[in-house]
Symmetry: C2
């Protein structure tokens, strides 16, 4: 198996793959007479195709053991998908650039407490992968008609290690 070591999720390292949803966003301002701060426009939710809607759902995830064997990635051709944790435990984020031959080399990240991510429409990514604890997530993605799921199985799996 090829080896893949996760690195800390940062806005800079993740910029080519999607959006980090955390409190370090720089477009921020006070609203409601100063009673709330808005950290604005951290990610865009997109829903395309027939009868598409952006929807909010909850995911209750169970943790994975590490090192983890990564056999495949998936993508959603009709919409984005955001995962925002509702507890402080970390989760694993694996993404791949798209190439003419399918997903490029996977990149693995581990979130800091409170960090979420948004995968833009069509971005290759691994399934939700909680680390260490059961975790609930708010998920913002797409429903509608048509097949919104593609999978790509690697010829050789990856062994993903935590840092």
């Amino acid at each position: 198996m090829k080896r893949l070591v996760a690195r800390p999720l940062t806005r800079e390292a993740f910029a080519a793959f999607g959006e980090v949803i955390d409190d370090t966003g720089t477009n921020r301002f006070y609203i409601n007479g100063g009673k709330a701060e808005r950290i604005h426009d951290l990610a865009t939710a997109e829903a395309t195709g027939p009868n598409a809607r952006v929807i909010l759902s909850l995911f209750r995830g169970t943790p994975y053991d590490f090192p983890l064997t990564l056999r495949f990635v998936e993508r959603h051709p009709f919409g984005s998908q955001a995962f925002v944790p509702l507890s402080p435990a970390p989760f694993l984020v694996v993404v791949c650039a798209d190439t003419p031959d399918g997903p490029g080399e996977p990149q693995a990240f581990i979130t800091a407490p409170g960090q979420g991510v948004n995968y833009p429409r069509g971005r290759w990514h691994a399934v939700l992968t909680p680390i260490g604890a059961n975790q609930d997530f708010l998920v913002v993605d797409r429903t509608g008609d048509g097949n919104n799921l593609e999978e790509f199985h690697f010829a050789e799996p990856y062994e993903v290690q935590l840092p």
Copy 2:
């Protein structure tokens, strides 16, 4: 001042006003080979008007004192607005039906830990009102061109009390 007593937020009591985002949703199923449960389609995010996008933002709110004087409500004619708490403290939810003369009689609710709400497009509601503690929220709403904020100031304010 007129008196308004908040009641517990339930799916049934809130159905005429918006969507409750919590883990009691009944459209639920397992995904990812059983590693996650999806509590599906709890709310729809809507963005209309010129250059509209559904966006994800964070709000950092400071708590309000009670009894609270409710002087106005607001609505967003071009989009929905969802608030999902990232901590277990409660918040106050005030909504009004729309009438030919503006907002109807306000209805006040207090959330249970973990409950969020979605205000559909055009729903009259009070501003974000944390109770008892600083609170962070994931907010799913709309950006774009045009004026997406209307306010209505009551002729006589309401005194809102917790149950």
